[in-house]
């Protein structure tokens, strides 16, 4: 009797988890916007043998957004997944990998991300702040006020806004706008910027200082602003089109990432 075909690879098998780890590292390594994503679940795995020691692996992955900005040097293992009540963002990714002589590399990936529904959150936590659009007027006002406030008090370089990561609004018991945004250091000090802010340019890449700020604007009963910025001081290539942290579909091209 012919030999039985090998049992299909399970989603929780070590080989699947190893491939998923390579895929998640590739996705985070090639995304320059938003936040790092962590694996939540391996939805499906299919292996298509190509020959001896040569397999093509198709993975369907469920990812969850972490609190680590994509520019942060913090390793993914130390990044906390954003909790359900913090209005989590989920990523659905299809990844094609190749396992050649034991080395796994990503050939292509496609990701689609979406925020959890506001209804789900309000059902569990009626007063929790909810995500709003990044170009919401109150979010833009809060980011501008927070960055101006920080630049007016800092003794370090003048910071420029790179992108807004998140904006949430809470309506009860008080009206609070919470924002998170990425910043880049410029070639001016905060004092010099007061004289001629137009002359302040982002530092060249090899000297770039990137950072991340959180800010909250409490409007009622009294207006109160709080901002905190942390600079990273590491080199990052120029941001490009990948928008995994923003709802929509993101495509990535073949890569030669190996582990």
């Amino acid at each position: 009797a012919p030999a039985a075909p090998p049992a299909p690879l399970g989603c929780d098998d070590p080989e699947s988890e190893a491939a998923a780890e390579v895929a998640v590292n590739y996705i985070n390594g090639h995304s320059h916007h938003g936040y790092k994503f962590a694996l939540n679940r391996i939805e499906d795995v299919r292996v298509v043998p190509q020959g001896p020691n040569n397999d093509i692996i198709f993975l369907e992955l469920d990812l969850l957004e972490t609190k680590c900005p994509i520019l942060s040097p913090t390793p993914l293992a130390n990044c906390t997944v954003r909790s359900f009540t913090e209005h989590a963002v989920e990523g659905d990714c299809d990844v094609k990998l190749q396992k050649l002589d034991g080395t796994i590399s990503v050939l292509a990936s496609k990701c689609h991300s979406h925020a959890d529904s506001s209804e789900d959150i309000s059902r569990v936590c009626p007063d929790c702040p909810l995500l709003v659009s990044l170009n919401n007027t109150e979010v833009l006002e809060t980011v501008s006020a927070a960055l101006n406030d920080f630049n007016s008090k800092t003794t370090g370089p003048y910071l420029r806004l790179l992108e807004i990561g998140r904006g949430k609004i809470q309506y009860y018991p008080s009206h609070v706008v919470a924002v998170e945004f990425a910043v880049g250091a410029t070639n001016c000090s905060a004092e010099e910027a007061k004289v001629n802010v137009g002359a302040c340019e982002l530092l060249p890449e090899d000297q770039s200082n990137f950072g991340f700020c959180t800010g909250t604007m409490t409007k009622l009963p009294i207006q109160k602003l709080h901002v905190n910025c942390q600079l990273y001081g590491h080199q990052v290539p120029t941001p490009d089109i990948l928008l995994l942290s923003r709802p929509g579909v993101t495509y990535m091209h073949a890569g030669q990432d190996t582990s």
């Binding site: 049992a7 399970g10 989603c11 929780d12 939540n40 679940r41 359900f84 989590a88």
Partner: protein, 38 residues
């Protein structure tokens, strides 16, 4: 009709009562949830 005995035996095997505490293997996919499901 002619039936192959080996198939019949396998069918019989399925009807064998499982031992107490037998836990069927988990389905290969989808895998476990590491954080929470949204």
């Amino acid at each position: 009709p002619v039936t192959k005995r080996a198939v019949a035996e396998a069918a019989q095997h399925d009807k064998v009562p499982r031992p107490v505490g037998f836990v069927p293997p988990p389905p290969p996919c989808p895998g476990k949830i590491r954080h929470f499901d949204i």
